[in-house]
Amino acid sequence: MNKKVGAILRHSFLWVWVLVLLVPVIFMFLTSLKLFRDIISGSILFSPTLRNYRELFLASHSDFRRLTLNSIITSVGTTLIGVTVASLAANSLTRFQWNKWVSGLIMGGVLFIYLLPPIIFIGPFYLLTRSLGVYDTPLAIIMGHTAFNLPLAVSMLYDFFADIPKELEEAAVVDGANRIQTFLRIVLPIARPGVAATAALVFIFSWREFMFALSMTSTPRGMTIPVGISAFVQEYNIRYGEMSAAAIFAMLPAVILFIFAQRNIVKGMTLGALKG
């Protein structure tokens, strides 16, 4: 009897927090399906419509297609560069003998950059991208996002690669594989879940990043989705329906990637904690 009461209490406590987390999301999702008159009336009964999504993507006055393209270019670019560079470095640091001084300097530097607040990069990058002529393009954003995400990618991949037993490689070397082949055919395939989770996390972080993208852009030529959404929120006459549709759309990649790589993403997110 006492046990049962305890279980009910525990579940009710957890459900309170579940509701706190889900109610705003559900409210926004419903708003995205409402016409303006249904938003005003605040009624629960309404006929759902996809009009807001159509306006967002198809209307000629809407920049959202361009922003989506920019967001995809930025996130994919950051992920490709970040994961390639980080896996080469992690492979070299875990598979070969390095002087302690060298590996310590690299991993220490990585941790240091991880701790720096992103606000300090805004001023220097603003000047840098302007003088290079890439200000207000996805390339400008990729440069910053790569710097922010490399530390995370290297630390994650370092842990995943270090877990691979050395014997497998020795067997490959006996079979005549050289160093690059060992990396491409043994290390990478075995660490695939880890590499996938790292890529997913870097993609999500780049997709949702706001402050840097806001600072490096001024027109839809370079703006990403979060920058576009913030403009919606700050309008004087808010278009509630379209704003909600845009925010719901912006959540999709995170949800999809999360479903496929949940376990390893959790590992990556608590990485800083376990090291700290």
Binding site: A7, R10, H11, F13, L14, W17, V20, P24, F27, M28, T31, I40, V85, L88, A89, S92, W98, V110, I113, L115, L116, P117, I119, I120, F121, I122, G123, P124, Y126, L127, L128, R130, G133, G144, T146, A147, L150, N178, R179, I180, I204, R208, F210, M211, S215, P226, S230, V233, Q234, I238, A247, A250, M251, A254, F258, V266, M269, T270, G272, A273
Partner: protein, 308 residues
């Protein structure tokens, strides 16, 4: 003898190909580490040095030209006499202290509760993780809708019991609390995750042994689990404090620092100085001060952790 001269292999192009590819392979260890060093130098170390230079200069841009004027400690004097600075620092301090305490408290109890639950664990975990993955700007949008004076969820609920809700984020007395609520919604899960990971790594045998010795549930928590969990708890609080200092997105989108200076935080003010007032040098100085404070915090934390 028209046989093949032994040294002809040296000039054989295919052989030379093998040689250089062997060289590439043999030096793999070294060249594969070069890209990350180059990128981190160009994209992180150089900008940091640039920031230092900006902090002691007046910087103006016209087209792609940049005009630098060295001004020494001028920005330090501006900083000391800037009336917004104490407000922004005070708001940031209040924000960080309140959200970290509330998040640590809720996150801790959520983790303990989930660890003692058998059913629906996967569901709870997934839902709790959700806020950490979605774009912060989407979270701001969500709360913009919740707080809306006319059509917002909260005021509609209050309307059901005939209470006229306040203007929330537009009310100077409530605005800071409103953005703190958003941060708590967003980040409590982070504390939850770390503490749950800590709980799951505790040895089961201790708990069982204590039970066999007749310890009550409360005693097990008080004398076994809590002390073992202490380092994890401290780490979670430290990381949250560090991240809370950097908060920008939600506050910038929801209130932009206003109304007045009610939600002016260091990061929001620094952005404002950069891109609304276009004082690049002073903005750089402000962000430098923020970075130095955060690094000091990390150093103090490490020292405290080591001496314990």
């Amino acid at each position: 003898m028209a046989g093949i001269a032994p040294d002809s292999s040296i000039s054989d192009p295919s052989r030379r190909g093998i040689r250089s590819s062997q060289l590439v392979d043999r030096t793999f260890k070294y060249w594969s580490i070069v890209p990350i060093i180059v990128l981190l130098t160009l994209l992180a170390v150089l900008p940091t040095i640039h920031l230092l230079r900006m902090s002691f200069s007046e910087v103006e841009t016209s087209g792609s030209e940049t005009i630098w004027t060295y001004v020494g400690l001028k920005h330090l004097r501006t900083f000391l006499s800037d009336p917004v600075v104490p407000v922004a620092f005070w708001n940031t301090l209040v924000f960080v202290v309140v959200v970290v305490i509330v998040e640590a408290f809720i996150g801790f109890f959520l983790a303990i509760t989930v660890s003692r639950t058998q059913r629906l664990v996967g569901f709870y975990r997934t839902v709790f993780l959700f806020p950490l993955l979605i774009p912060p700007v989407a979270i701001s949008t969500m709360w913009r809708l919740m707080y809306d004076y006319n059509y917002g969820f909260i005021n509609q609920l209050l309307g059901l019991i005939d209470v006229a809700g306040p203007t929330w984020t537009a009310d100077p007395a409530l605005a800071l609390m409103c953005v703190m609520v958003v941060d708590i919604w967003h980040w409590t899960s982070f504390v939850f995750l770390i503490i749950l990971a800590g709980l799951e790594s505790l040895p089961h045998e201790l708990n069982e042994a204590a039970r066999i010795d007749g310890a009550s549930e409360r005693q097990v928590y008080r004398y076994i689990i809590l002390p073992l969990l202490r380092p994890t708890l401290i780490t979670a609080v430290m990381l949250r404090t560090l991240f809370a200092f950097k908060v920008f997105d939600e506050v910038f989108v929801l209130t932009g620092g206003g109304p007045g200076t009610a939600t002016e935080l260091i990061s929001v003010y620094a952005y404002d100085v950069f891109f609304t007032q276009f004082r690049l040098g002073y903005g750089a100085f402000l962000s430098l001060v923020t970075a130095v404070l955060m690094l000091l915090f990390v150093l103090v934390y490490r020292r405290v952790n080591q001496t314990r």
